[in-house]
């Protein structure tokens, strides 16, 4: 029963969505299914939050390796949840001056806004920016012209790296019009819109066929791996 009901729900919803895509009369059914999905997606945040609490509390309780990080995660989660839910630091709006909670939770100057602007944003930007340093170090140590494939990759990387800068277009100034295709930016455009496009289109079509066959297996109940392990 534990497995049969979810399979029936998944199959029924899936087929309704397929049918609603092809038969305009049943479009409304598809909309209803998607509306339920959106409600479930919002509830999934609550489930996700409680799961995060459970996993991290377990880790701290067992004093597992890295339990300190779990404690930091929990504190960050609970503080953010508290200041967001209770709108800490939010000022009443002009429209509703007597209702303290009438303003949005992320109002400028509120505690949640402060957390987002001065903690979350700089931390995320830092993580992203560090890539430049690690890519430089990795390129120096690992990007070697060891075989013909690596040489082709190196040549492409060189052209695209140059083509994505001011220098790429600067070459046109020195080239006669009939040889402008030799400039880095022209070659970059060619690589992206011919070689890359052909490869990506083939991969995309392959993925789409794979997704279609996997989806059919899920809808027909042949593939039940998404339900996890366990008996009926």
């Amino acid at each position: 029963m534990k497995r049969t009901v979810p399979i029936v729900i998944a199959a029924a919803t899936g087929f309704v969505l397929i049918v609603s895509s092809f038969i305009p009369l049943t479009e409304e059914w598809g909309s209803a299914a998607m509306q339920w999905f959106n409600i479930l997606a919002a509830i999934a945040f609550v489930l996700g939050g409680s799961n995060l609490l459970r996993m991290n509390l377990q880790k701290i309780s067992d004093r597992r390796l890295g339990w300190g990080y779990a404690a930091v995660t929990l504190v960050a989660f609970l503080v953010t949840l508290f200041v967001g839910l209770f709108k800490v630091g939010v000022q009443p709006t002009e429209s509703f001056p007597t209702y303290a909670w009438a303003a949005p939770y992320n109002q400028e100057g509120s505690f949640l806004w402060w957390l987002f602007e001065y903690m979350y944003k700089p931390l995320q930007a830092t993580m992203f920016s560090l890539l430049a340093f690690f890519i430089a170090s990795a390129a120096f140590r690992a990007f070697r012209a060891k075989n013909p494939e690596a040489i082709a990759l190196l040549a492409t990387a060189f052209i695209v790296l140059m083509g994505r800068t001011y220098v790429g277009g600067l070459m046109r100034e020195f080239l006669p019009e009939r040889l402008e295709w030799l400039s880095f930016d022209a070659m970059t455009n060619y690589i992206m819109s011919v070689f890359n496009l052909a490869g990506m289109r083939a991969i995309t079509i392959g993925i789409a066929l794979g997704v279609a066959s996997t989806s059919l297996k899920v809808l027909l109940g042949v593939d039940r791996s998404y339900l996890g392990a366990g008996d009926d």
Binding site: S31, Q35, A132, F133, A136, R141, A145, T165
Partner: protein
């Protein structure tokens, strides 16, 4: 020299990269751009819209990709505001609302003539990945009943008569991943024949090229695409030259140029060491 580079501490590489990125920022170096045909087609798609056209601004990114995507998002906003288009902002990313708010702030500060609810509206975040897209194209109110401040769509002049987004003139999507451009193309632009343009991170661009030009009119790839777009915008609307914030992507091309040159130099040096080492029997 060979020994020096062979045993080069990676902290020297980090320092070199720091200088390459920091110097152009501190000196304010800017370079002219040469717009590619792809960027030109994005610009033309917006420029060709008549005044009052409806544009759905789907901004699906977060602070992690803000450095790469925010300048193009603001450039789209400024372009639409200058063209007096009706802008509907929405995000499918939980961290997206503050990104949209920055765009709304630009409209409030730089275009005080535009009115909220009449010329632009902020519909905020909706959970459910591609789910809200499917509902927005069939029955908008099933996924969005109110704007970001809780005001009913029936009370806003822009949204009062809007049943779904099938009749919008253009979808502009700025995306850092899933859900993003691919989902807007698959579930809105293609099945309902809505014109669409997009801006994405450098990593995503190769995956989205197959959708151009049939399903996407054009695509801005990363900060380079944004810089070319800003260049076109400055050419068409010279009044923006007085606004340094409207040249943010152009400013960021300086660090990109030097960083790419350093990267190429490091790859070349690394390979020279490799071949010398191989000849000496060290590898």
């Amino acid at each position: 020299m060979y020994e020096f580079f062979k045993t080069l501490d990676r902290r020297w590489i980090f320092l070199l990269m720091l200088i390459a990125v920091g110097l152009p920022i501190l000196r304010g170096w800017q370079f002219p751009e040469r717009p590619s045909p792809m960027v030109q087609s994005v610009f033309d798609a917006i420029e060709s819209l008549p005044e009052g056209s409806q544009v759905w601004m789907a901004y699906d990114y977060d602070p992690g990709s803000q450095g790469e995507l925010h300048p193009m998002a603001l450039a789209f906003t400024r372009h639409c505001a200058l063209k007096k288009l009706k802008m509907y902002y929405m995000t499918l990313w939980p961290q997206g609302p503050p990104m949209i708010q920055k765009n709304v702030d630009v409209l409030r500060n730089e275009f005080p003539d535009l009115q909220y609810g009449v010329d632009y509206v902020n519909l905020g975040y909706r959970p459910g990945y591609e789910g809200p897209i499917k509902l927005a194209v069939t029955d908008l109110r099933k996924t969005i009943a109110a704007d970001v401040d809780g005001k009913s769509l029936n009370d806003l002049p822009m949204t009062k008569g809007l049943k779904n987004i099938q009749n919008v003139d253009l979808i502009i999507n700025v995306s850092a991943g899933y859900p993003g451009t691919k989902e807007w193309v698959l579930y809105a632009a293609t099945p309902y024949n809505i014109s669409s343009v997009a801006g994405c991170t450098g990593v995503q661009a190769p995956y989205l090229y197959p959708y151009v030009p049939q399903q996407l009119n054009g695509l801005l790839g990363a900060i380079k695409g944004a810089a070319e777009y800003e260049f076109l915008l400055l050419e068409a609307y010279p009044q923006l030259r007085e606004n340094p914030e409207a040249q943010e992507a152009l400013r960021r091309m300086g660090p990109q140029l030097l960083a790419h040159l350093v990267l190429i130099a490091l790859i070349v040096i690394g390979n020279v060491i490799y071949f010398v080492g191989r000849r000496r029997g060290d590898v």
